[in-house]
């Protein structure tokens, strides 16, 4: 951070000083953020292991390695704000405060899962908690966010709608239609692109003519900011600016979190399009360990305290798994019950 008037090459903050993005986050907030990142990691590892053991079927899209972007972007939201999520949406769901036990029950297709076993991994929603749903269609949530923004504005509420999508979604027409409409109507929407470099196997560098997704914001006259998506304080700081802008009538913003998924696109992925070295390089930038290292280095948390947070997350997911396994299956006679509302 440079002080005005000084050359940017002159460091004004010593390396051991706390950066402002981190300094604004108090201990309770950081503890909660770390807990949610651990919950996401353990949740997905557990889901993956359950799949490997044949306990659950279907497919899933894991966000392991992307936890800081989900938790960081949602951190400045209020509980009554809305999010819309993606097929890689477990992280957003947990970050918004969903109960991992009800999520795992949904994975297991159980009646007491979030969607009563009708949605599964790709359609988890927690409407009461402000999560208007994951989405199996790339860019499916983007136009919906426009309508949520219109609704907030028409009802004269001061809520914000944050919509997540991947880099691949930015080549869908829905992305461009949604950003344009949100901008002309100055809607309280925050567009969060989790750029994990690949749309399934297609490298974004080959799929998009501009270097950054954030560059595309200029076509819609809204701020476009790219941040290190593995840096939770950086993501949270950028998200806070966009959320404040949306809440105070300034209109939408586009936030690009550059991150990486450690796992393949889905269960069918054989990693033919990327190298082990590349994956390894990103694994060294584990968003959870990066934050933990910075916090211990600054002396804000003891290593034992951090270990206790992780242990609490492991224990919560273990009980969630037991809950999911013990939950009842849906009754086939109720199959069409919720096709229509009465």
């Amino acid at each position: 951070m440079a002080t005005p008037g000084l050359s940017p090459s002159v460091p004004t903050i010593a390396a051991t000083d706390e950066r402002p993005e981190l300094a604004v986050l108090d201990a309770a907030t950081l503890r909660a953020a770390l807990m949610r990142m651990h919950l996401i990691r353990k949740f997905e590892e557990t889901a993956e292991a359950s799949y490997m053991r044949g306990l659950i079927h279907g497919t899933m899209h894991l966000s392991i390695g992307q936890e800081a972007s989900a938790v960081g972007a949602i951190l400045p939201l209020r509980p009554d704000d809305y999010i819309l999520s993606t097929h890689r949406g477990h992280g957003h769901c947990i970050a918004k405060g969903a109960d991992p036990a009800l999520m795992l029950a949904e994975f297991f297709g159980k009646e007491n899962g979030y969607c009563r076993g009708r949605g599964g991994s790709m359609h988890i929603a927690d409407v009461e908690g402000g999560n208007l749903g994951a989405n199996g269609i790339v860019a499916g949530g983007l136009p919906i966010a426009v309508g949520v923004g219109m609704s907030i504005k028409m009802q004269k509420q001061d809520r914000v709608c944050m919509v997540f999508f991947g880099d691949g979604a930015t080549n869908e027409g829905a992305f461009h239609e949604a950003l344009n409409m949100a901008s002309i109507w100055k809607l309280p929407v925050v567009f969060v692109c989790e750029n994990n470099k690949y749309g399934m196997s297609m490298d974004i560098a080959f799929a998009m003519a501009v270097p950054h997704v954030a560059d595309r914001a200029s076509a819609y006259a809204m701020p476009g900011v790219a941040v290190d998506g593995n840096d939770l304080p950086a993501v949270a700081a950028a998200a806070r600016v966009a959320i404040d802008r949306a809440r105070t009538g300034g209109g939408p913003s586009l936030l690009e979190c550059k991150t990486y998924r450690w796992r393949g696109h889905s269960k069918s992925d054989r990693n033919l399009y990327r190298t082990k070295d590349e994956i390894e390089t990103w694994r060294k930038r584990d968003p959870i360990r990066l934050l933990e290292a910075e916090l211990t280095e600054l002396g804000r948390f003891e290593a034992t305290e951090l270990a206790a947070i992780e242990k609490a997350a492991i224990s919560e997911i273990e009980s969630a798994l037991e809950f999911a396994k013990a939950s009842p299956d849906p009754d086939p006679s109720q199959l069409t019950r919720d096709v229509y509302a009465d």
Partner: protein, 341 residues
């Protein structure tokens, strides 16, 4: 619900056009319920491509009658998002053909969200779709795609044939907690009929017998109802009494009314403007074939549908593409005429 049903005792009735009836319904819904708004391409100052919204933008302002960019996919998604969070959006898709640009949001999102979320959300949105041929607008502005949507669980699909039903089905659709698609026929916008002044609803999922008859059942929808009724008058001159059923709703479909009529007449003609192959006629014929009423049939079922062709530009060809009054008359006469009984 915010809109009171009209009662016969209190209701004044006068002549309105189909377009005016829809506009009156929109106005009454917006007056009664602040959650209702209309949006779409050129629905504001222009008054709608077919003049349906007319002066509504002056009466309700640009925040409730909203001109939009040409972004059908985005608009359909916006309707989903607004409906999910407490509003009652009414979206006009300028020509029903353009719904093809919005299929993703209608079919994958609007129709499925409630089910996929385990019944924990609902999507009370209305999409108005000017449809049908007869205007010389050729292949991309004349289609009848309603059967596509009737194939999708989670959607409701209606096709009003009269000004009375255009208003009543619109108000029912706005009150409905599900996504409802209203296919309005462009050739009907200027047709006139009796419309009660007060708000009222025509129940979605109820067909109506427009004409009683003992000899042959003609099941129709939208403008085909008018052609079927005209054909029935000619048939009557030859001593054939046709019963004409106006479906009004395709999904849910009122099979009970169809079955009761077929049980009486033993003969069935199904007439619809959408392409005949894999269309609503096939579904209705199959429903009859699967039902006990099949045994009442005295003759094979006849389907009259659109030709297996895009709608052509040339007016003679265009007319030849979809069933006309004379086609219905001839088909019913063949089925129920003296040589058959």
């Amino acid at each position: 619900m915010p809109i009171e049903l009209a009662t016969a005792a209190t209701t004044e009735v006068r002549e309105l056009s189909y377009a005016e009836a829809i506009r009156e319904g929109l106005a009454q819904a917006m007056e009664a319920d602040p959650r209702v708004f209309l949006f779409g391409e050129d629905v504001g100052v222009y008054g709608g491509a077919f003049g349906v919204s007319g002066d509504l933008h002056k009466r309700f302002g640009p925040e409730r009658v909203i001109d939009t960019p040409i972004s059908e996919l985005g608009l359909a998604g916006a309707a989903v998002g607004a409906a999910l969070t407490g509003m009652r959006p009414v979206l006009e898709i300028q020509f029903s053909d353009f719904i093809t640009l919005a299929m993703e949001q209608i079919v994958n999102q609007a129709a499925k969200i409630r089910f996929m979320f385990g019944g924990k959300a609902s999507v009370p949105m209305v999409v108005r779709l000017p449809a049908g041929s007869g205007t010389g607008a050729a292949g991309q502005h004349s289609q009848s795609l309603e059967a596509w949507f009737a194939h999708v669980p989670g959607l409701k699909v209606v096709q009003p044939s009269t000004p009375h039903d255009a208003k009543g089905l619109l108000l029912a659709a706005i009150d409905d907690p599900n996504p409802v698609l209203i296919f309005e026929h462009k050739l009907l916008y200027k047709t006139k009929g009796h419309v009660p002044t007060a708000p009222y609803r025509v129940p979605i999922g109820q067909a109506i017998v427009r004409r009683q008859g003992r000899d042959v059942t003609i099941v129709a929808a939208s403008i085909m109802t008018l052609r079927a009724l005209a054909a029935a008058e000619r048939l009557a001159q030859e001593g054939i009494e046709a019963e004409v059923i106006d479906l009004r709703s395709l999904r849910p479909i009122d099979f009970a009314t169809i079955a009761a009529s077929v049980a009486k007449t033993g003969r069935l003609v199904i007439v619809y403007e959408g392409v005949k192959t894999m269309g609503i006629g096939a579904e209705i014929a199959a429903m009859v074939a699967e039902n006990e009423v099949f045994h009442a049939l005295k003759a094979p079922i006849v389907r009259l549908g659109g030709a297996d062709s895009p709608i052509p530009y040339n007016p003679v060809l265009e007319k030849a593409t979809v069933p006309q009054e004379d086609d219905i008359f001839k088909a019913a006469r063949r089925l129920a005429g003296p040589e058959q009984s």
